[in-house]
């Protein structure tokens, strides 16, 4: 039993390490995806920046008015939350189809399969970087100068990516076999958007219901480790704990799962 587990772990991590070693390939494929999407458009991926900016302005105005929240607090909160959330949903949704979309290559070339997940993550990280341009403007408008603690957001981003990568990988495997799952996942993500404090602030919730919604929601912790430092605060110990434990146990489980099913992926395509 234990021996079998170790075998699975080895086989799963071998592929992942090989993919990490060939990070250049994932990088090129990721850039290629961006280029392909915006080829011959003069603004290219900056269209995303613009549409994100418009979305933030519109949502900020509407929900700020509805909730009667002061814009100085609400708008930066919304902007950061929405940008991070976009990274989360697009990574996971595209992770679901990461292997399916690469069918032609997978069936022809024996590349480490985790490469295709890294490609999805890299593409979305590039888009995230484009969206991030909005942030300094929003912070400057309200004269919210970043504190030294803002650097913690980098650690937060690393934690988020670590978690997104195992989630994207495991979703990718399951969705390749069961083609209805992408729809289910995208639906669940849509619901999570409203359950997670992005367009509403935790303070707006009645105390007890809010606590349950927040602490039981992993997305809240994943967003908070980046958002809190950028807004001049510090993430709570619980935020950190959940993100770190989720990354560790998530990865262990995913490597075992991957070790078991990796060789089946080409057959499922």
């Amino acid at each position: 039993m234990i021996k079998h587990m170790i075998e699975l772990f080895k086989s799963g991590s071998r592929d992942i390490l090989a993919a990490l070693q060939g990070y250049q390939l994932a990088g090129i494929l990721g850039w290629q995806d961006i280029r392909q999407r915006y080829r011959r458009s003069s603004l290219g991926p900056f269209w995303l920046t613009i549409s994100m900016g418009v979305l933030i302005a519109a949502l900020g105005f509407i929900f700020g008015t509805i909730f009667g929240a002061p814009l100085k607090q609400f708008l930066p909160f919304l902007a950061i939350g929405l940008i991070i959330w976009t990274l989360i949903t697009t990574s996971l949704n595209e992770g679901c189809t990461g292997f399916i979309a690469a069918e032609g290559m997978i069936k022809q070339m024996p590349l480490p399969l985790f490469t295709y997940i890294m490609r999805v993550l890299w593409t979305n990280l590039i888009i995230f970087a484009h969206n991030l341009i909005i942030l300094p403007f929003v912070l400057l408008i309200f004269w919210l100068l970043p504190q030294a603690t803002a650097l913690l957001a980098i650690a937060g981003l690393v934690l988020l990516m670590l978690n997104l990568s195992w989630l994207a990988l495991i979703f990718g495997i399951i969705c390749t076999r069961y083609r209805d799952v992408p729809q289910i996942i995208s639906n669940l993500l849509q619901v999570s958007f409203y359950l997670t404090p992005i367009i509403w602030m935790p303070e707006m919730m009645p105390k007890r219901a809010g606590l349950l919604l927040l602490n039981a929601n992993p997305f809240f912790h994943l967003i908070e480790v980046i958002r809190a430092p950028l807004l001049g605060g510090v993430p709570s110990v619980l935020n950190w704990q959940v993100c770190i434990l989720l990354a560790i146990f998530g990865w262990i489980f995913t490597i075992l799962f991957y070790g078991r099913f990796r060789s089946r992926i080409a057959y499922w395509l």
Binding site: Q24, L25, M105, L111, A266
Partner: protein, 234 residues
């Protein structure tokens, strides 16, 4: 020492999306081509593409795979490449495999020739820095010259193949896998390409080529392997 050894290799493709195949099963079994259709222990419909293949290929072997459509030639090549892990039996490969199947795969028609060199080169496992030293060589050999700065969609089919071929043959392979002999470009380039291809084949340690042409196999191979409906015929 390069070596490929297959031991009782079986490949079963699951067919998940067809309930109708089951009712058709009895008919399909009588089909003249393709793998045998059956069901596995969990009740799924499976197509047995390869059945108990045992082969040992050593240095100097030039293997010609022959057989009808659906005999399992391409599947066997992909098993050797490592795309499919056998569902039964095992395969051991010693040496680096280069596949010349679908050498244009992954190229982007909107990207320039140079971008495609990096893209295609990365897929073949070449480092970016090493590739950048090869650009001039590729430009000259392919005869594309300044065209390399233009998007691939402005190339003719022949020009695209020239580029793909020039990238694919940058490095001398150890184990070479081919699906039919490659013919590239116009008469002039073809001669050049044939020469390079022959040289590569000669220098490679093991060659495995699937082909329908007995003449070709007779010319370049020293071992013929015949597949029929997924099984070896001796």
């Amino acid at each position: 020492m390069t070596r490929i050894s297959l031991n009782n290799v079986c490949v079963d493709f699951p067919v998940y999306n067809s309930t109708s195949v089951r009712s058709l099963k009895s008919h399909l079994i009588q089909a003249v081509t393709g793998g045998r259709v059956g069901s596995n222990d969990r009740g799924y419909v499976v197509v047995r593409a390869l059945e108990n293949i045992s082969l040992d290929m050593k240095e100097g072997d030039r293997i010609g795979l022959i057989g009808h459509n659906g005999a399992g030639k391409s599947t066997l090549l992909r098993v050797i490449c490592g795309v499919y892990e056998p569902t039964g039996g095992c395969i051991k490969v010693k040496g680096k495999i280069t596949s010349l199947i679908d050498i244009g795969l992954g190229m982007d028609s909107e990207a320039t020739g140079i971008e495609n060199i990096y893209l295609r080169g990365a897929l073949m496992g070449f480092r970016r820095r090493w590739l950048s030293t090869k650009i001039n060589e590729i430009a000259e050999y392919s005869g594309l010259g300044n065209y390399l700065t233009m998007p691939l969609r402005t190339y003719s089919t022949g020009m695209q193949m020239r580029l793909a071929f020039s990238i694919a043959t940058l490095e001398q392979p150890e184990i070479l896998i081919m699906d039919e002999w490659l013919t590239v470009g116009d008469a002039e380039f073809q001669e050049k390409a044939q020469q390079r291809l022959k040289e590569i084949v000669q220098k490679s340690s093991i060659l495995v080529i699937a082909s329908h042409s007995l003449e070709l196999v007779g010319q370049i191979c020293n071992r013929v392997v015949r597949l029929e409906r997924g099984a070896l015929v001796t």
